[in-house]
């Protein structure tokens, strides 16, 4: 269930010092435009890494590269110790199964009910067939995000915040080791944004998940980040913990926190 802010802040634990994602010299162009020039970053086990940056700096492109939705042009992506460029298709699928992705829009399947949305990854990713087992997991996932009553509703009947929570439940139902959040609080009111931020921290605590969180929401970054990276001109320009960046004297960095 959703806990209050103070309780959740206490859940921020120091991450273990082993990399689950390592990105080296990643480059991505779209036509003549270079979006990611030279990205180098490490996500440690159990860590919440927040990536900040202006719109159009390629933050979403970066996490889509990690799950293979966008192919990189140059560089190396090492996920859970595996260099993705050296893996065959079946091995890649095994790695991708361990990564959850929360889309900016929630990306719920409109033609399916809430229950079917949650059953979809169970059937497709975990090849689960036992209906009773699936029912149990679906109810548990909905309970975790506080949507017990929505099970037979259609996604179109849900509010923006509920859709985000349902998207999170659908991603977490397969218990990924790594979570990638693409602007999880965009378009939500401050209260719902805080609920989503608290849920992100609960995920980190309860599932010891390592996460990359793309956001513009400074409150979300303050609540969830163990470490923050700011992207500028296609490179990781600044790195630090929230308080360091917040107190920076650099006017460009300060502008994010105003």
């Amino acid at each position: 269930m959703i806990s209050d802010e103070n309780e959740s802040i206490e859940t921020l634990e120091s991450p273990e010092n082993s990399a689950v994602i390592e990105i080296q010299n990643l480059k991505k162009d779209f036509g003549n435009k270079t979006v990611l020039r030279d990205i180098n970053l490490i996500l440690n086990k159990g860590e919440n890494l927040v990536i900040l940056g202006q719109s159009g700096t390629g933050k979403s492109v970066l996490i889509k590269c990690i799950v293979g939705l966008i192919q990189i042009d140059e560089g190396k992506l090492i996920v859970l110790g595996e260099d993705l460029s050296t893996l065959k298709e079946k091995e890649l699928i095994q790695v991708y199964r361990k990564i959850g992705f929360l889309f900016q829009s929630g990306a719920l399947y409109d033609s399916m009910t809430v229950r079917e949305n949650l059953e979809f990854p169970l059937k497709r990713q975990l090849r689960m067939k036992n209906q009773e087992e699936m029912d149990l997991l679906v109810k548990e996932a909905l309970h975790d995000v506080g949507l017990d009553d929505a099970i037979d509703k259609s996604p179109s009947e849900l509010s923006g915040g509920m859709r985000k929570r349902l998207g999170l439940a659908r991603t977490l139902i397969v218990k990924p080791e790594i979570m990638l959040y693409d602007e999880p609080t965009t378009g939500l009111d401050p209260i719902t944004s805080r609920e989503i931020s608290n849920l992100i921290m609960e995920v980190q605590k309860n599932h010891t998940t390592s996460s990359i969180i793309i956001t513009h929401d400074i409150e979300c970054a303050r609540l969830t980040a163990n470490r923050i990276i700011v992207i500028k001109d296609g490179v990781c320009a600044v790195e630090g913990i929230f308080s360091e960046l917040e107190n920076s004297t650099d006017p460009w960095i300060k502008s994010f926190f105003e």
Partner: protein, 276 residues
């Protein structure tokens, strides 16, 4: 600096110069890019269709949505076409004293040409646009990406199943439309006459042969395939944004309908060659 016109995987550089020449060049090049993309999409379909999993449940679900849900519209259209064709043809045939040929003429017209083409056009309007809009909106709302990260091949799950369902359902709908059209024609005959159902359908079956029925039904497989393929292509490759959804639905209907006529023209030529 030149301007780049991009279409997913390809991009064309248009050099500065005469604006009308630039426009003509870009239209010309975009046409070939579109043909290339469409051909690649078709080849991908034939590559994926043989690979497991075969998504049987999704094919059955789509067949239900595409086929069963289109029955009322197809029935109404078929009935009206049969009725109107009969009423319109009667005066001309009566002038030549050939009114007794009315059932035969209408039956051959409906079964050979009007049934398949009208059904395909209705199908392109309802199903083609529906597929185009649905896939485009799934694209805009990242549902296709979400499927991919859920270990599902979206091309196979969304595209292959819809194309197969459209290909299989259109011949069935055409047979249904033909039958309902003949009933409509029977009603039309009886507006100004008194012909028994037995007599009417005896004349119909005497005039229609398998050489009329089989090529007509066979060509609807291609109509269905083309409508499904174009709807899926337009939706799956739509530009991001809500405008892309409308454009995809619109162009799915326009190109789907156009392809129906092109395929029909080719099918008629082949049929007449084979029958001679």
């Amino acid at each position: 600096m030149g301007k780049t016109i991009s279409n997913k995987s390809l991009s064309v550089k248009v050099e500065p110069g005469n604006p009308s020449k630039i426009l003509a060049d870009s239209v010309f090049k975009n046409f070939f890019i579109e043909v290339y993309s469409m051909t690649a999409f078709t080849f991908r379909f034939f590559k994926e269709v043989w690979k497991p999993p075969y998504e049987i449940n999704e094919i059955l679900k789509q067949s239900f949505l595409i086929g069963y849900k289109s029955l009322p519209l197809i029935a109404i259209t078929g009935f009206i076409i049969g009725l109107v064709l009969t009423i319109q043809s009667r005066p001309t045939l009566a002038k030549f004293g050939a009114e007794s040929w009315l059932p035969a003429m209408v039956a051959v017209s409906i079964i050979r040409e009007i049934g398949p083409v009208i059904t395909a056009l209705i199908f392109a309007g309802k199903v083609g646009s529906g597929i185009g809009a649905e896939l485009a909106s799934m694209n805009v709302t990242e549902q296709i990406d979400a499927m991919q990260v859920s270990d599902t091949n979206p091309f196979k799950y969304l595209v292959v199943t819809r194309i197969l369902s459209a290909t299989l359902m259109l011949p069935i709908l055409t047979i249904f439309a033909d039958v309902v059209g003949l009933f409509g024609s029977y009603m039309g005959v009886n507006i100004k006459g008194n012909v028994s159902a037995h007599l009417y359908f005896s004349q119909v079956f005497q005039s229609v042969t398998f050489e009329d029925i089989l090529p007509a039904i066979f060509k609807t497989l291609f109509f269905g395939f083309a409508i499904g393929l174009i709807g899926c292509y337009k939706g799956y490759n739509s530009n991001k944004g809500t405008e892309g959804v409308g454009k995809s639905a619109n162009s799915a209907v326009v190109f789907g309908s156009l392809m129906v006529f092109v395929i029909d023209m080719i099918a008629v030529q082949i049929t007449s060659l084979l029958q001679n």
